[in-house]
Amino acid sequence: MAVTKTEPINSSSNKPSSSSVSMKSDLMSALSLKSLKLKTKQQELLIRVSILCLVYVLAFITRLFSVLRYESMIHEFDPYFNYRTTLFLTEKGFYEFWNWFDSESWYPLGRIIGGTLYPGLMVTAAIMYWGLRFLRFAVHIREVCVLTAPFFASNTTLVAYFFGKEIWDTGAGLVAAVLIAICPGYISRSVAGSYDNEGVAIFALLLTFYLFVKAVNTGSLAWGLGSALGYFYMVSAWGGYVFIINLIPLYVLVLLITGRYSMRLYVAYNSMYVLGMLLAMQIRFVGFQHVQSGEHMAAMGVFFLMQGFYFLGWVKHLLGDKKKFEALLRIIVTCAVGVGAIALGVGTASGYISPWTGRFYSLLDPTYAKDHIPIIASVSEHQPTAWSSFMFDFHILLFLFPAGLYFCFKRLSDATIFIVMYGLTSMYFAGVMVRLILVATPAVCLISAIAVSATIKNLTTLLRTKSKVSQTGSTKGASGGKGSSKALPDQSQPFQRNGAIALLFGAFYLLSRYAIHCTWVTSEAYSSPSIVLAARGAHGNRVIFDDYREAYYWLRQNTPADAKVMSWWDYGYQITAMGNRTVIVDNNTWNNTHIATVGRAMSSYEDEAYEIMRSLDVNYVLVVFGGVTGYSSDDINKFLWMVRIGGGVFPVIKEPDYLVNGEYRVDKGAAPKMLNCLMYKLSYYRFGELVTEYGKPPGYDRARGVEIGNKDIKLEHLEEAFTTSNWIVRIYKVKPPNNRW
């Protein structure tokens, strides 16, 4: 019963002081956590949520180095194509985007962009752009594109937390979130500005795996549907979805073999496979591959196997008699294996089931690409990984990975079997190709998180129980209890406790070194935009080379709108996106013969090259030259690949013609064909008069470290149109044929 006192106005002197005192104590209790009197569970929840928030922000801001140092721009080569398509999508709408035929690349063939790209990244960025615009934030689509990858990296940390919670416990989830937020293996492909498929695809990959493991653990159709939708997102985002559609059936197979077949597995896999397959076939680029390509047959095989298992279980239940069932089992198994083998054999032999494509076959047989498909072998990210790359990208995770595997094997369950399989298969593929370290990173982070979390948990329980025993021991010893049995733990107890404290400090030291290493790697190695180069000047000041964009904007502003530019395929996407001109070949590399034609033109004498350029309607030729600045990724260093790819299709181009005793030289002792081919002439035109370094003769190539052989170059069919300020990009105009009188 509340009694309301009516107080006289005069006696208000006491009230303010008491109310101010109570106000002060309220403030103090609000500020200090202890007197908030939170239950332990709520305190734990608060700690977890705050850690996750901090990790979310950390994952985002650690990827912003290049935006802060240079500007907010798109990096590298492939992202420029993604940017151009996203721009098209936001300007013209989804229908035009889905049915887009592009005549500005691969002249004169054109490219069906709508049917040959993975739309997930573009649609995601477009949706974020439209959402922000709807909320009246006037952002430019480029800003959204630049920051898409860091945003999705933050989301990946959340998924990693839930995944770790599913596999082990919340502690492992938190550690996994922190590890993956700063792991260089992931940062390398998801910095701000790296607007590439992998930025979104790794999020989709981890999401699909998490939802599938959740489906297997709960046996619920809703989670199976969730994993199918996650798989659909992955298929729309990246060609690496083939990893998912092979790992999940392999995992199901392992579970079946180890006797872990259950109804939950049946529900999860079937719903995911059927719905996932249907959804995946909606992407035009994937098409009917799920029923026709050899890479997807494992999933179908396991699907039929699951039906077989279920059928056998049902028959066993019906029969009730063990002997009859075993006899029936033998008949059924032999029939099924026979039918399956015949079907697979007929399908493969008749060619209906296509064999594994070169891209993925070279993962199983790493020597295949070098002998048969030079264009796959030439990409630098497809080379096998060196140990230093592993150490660089993973640091302490490299030895925490086996430790985590040990813990997983100690506590085997459906979920830990999955993460072990994911880890082992992805590490194998990471060893074959440098680019695939990215796919291995989530697995390595999760397994290492299990090791870290389990170890630290054991150590802290060691600390806590020992102090409890010491308390009870001292009270009992004081009351004169059994002294001898208590004396033994008392003697070894301080030693173990000190050991635990020392190990905890060691773990803390390791994790802090990891954080320092990751930040250093991000800052030094993975934050360069590749399109803008930086170097140290003579006085230690930073010099920026913005030659690429200078050249592309020159093209955009000084050439006719229908001009066609021939360059090596590396620069195609950038030329179409920034220069807005038609190119002959670009990074999509879908037509090897067309690329070989360009390679042949670059490696022929000027007259033959002129014939080829006239046949392709080329107006301008663009070469990248690093002799003045010492830039080593220029066309002269890539020239041998042009020769190999050209020679792969046109046998007139023979690689030994350009080498001297197997050695690749550009100085006086170089092969005569090398000294007079188009690439050499275009790179070194007028270079013989230039003094590049103090004390060296004119025409000293700083990238190769030699004085060039042919200094007096005369061009007959081309004329120099533009050379950038540091001579990195050189553009030549193809002259029309002479008038004949």
Partner: protein, 68 residues
């Protein structure tokens, strides 16, 4: 009713997969609702049915898009 061939392959596939999909989803529902299955004893049949309806919704939406 004979299958006249697989010419518009997407339509053929959507027909086949709609049969397979509904069969699979029905089997999953029956597994989850059956009281003899000890694995699903704490799953309410209403929840199982709701999942079934949701999955069928998505399945038929995709089939209709794929039919062409």
């Amino acid at each position: 009713m004979a299958v006249v061939g697989s010419f518009p392959f997407n339509s053929f596939l959507s027909g086949v997969l709609s049969c397979v999909g509904t069969a699979v989803l029905a089997v999953c529902l029956r597994i989850q609702v059956n009281k003899e299955n000890k694995e699903f004893k704490d799953l309410a049949p209403e929840r199982a049915f709701a999942d079934f309806v949701l999955c069928n919704l998505v399945l038929h939406l995709v089939i209709m898009n794929f039919l062409g």
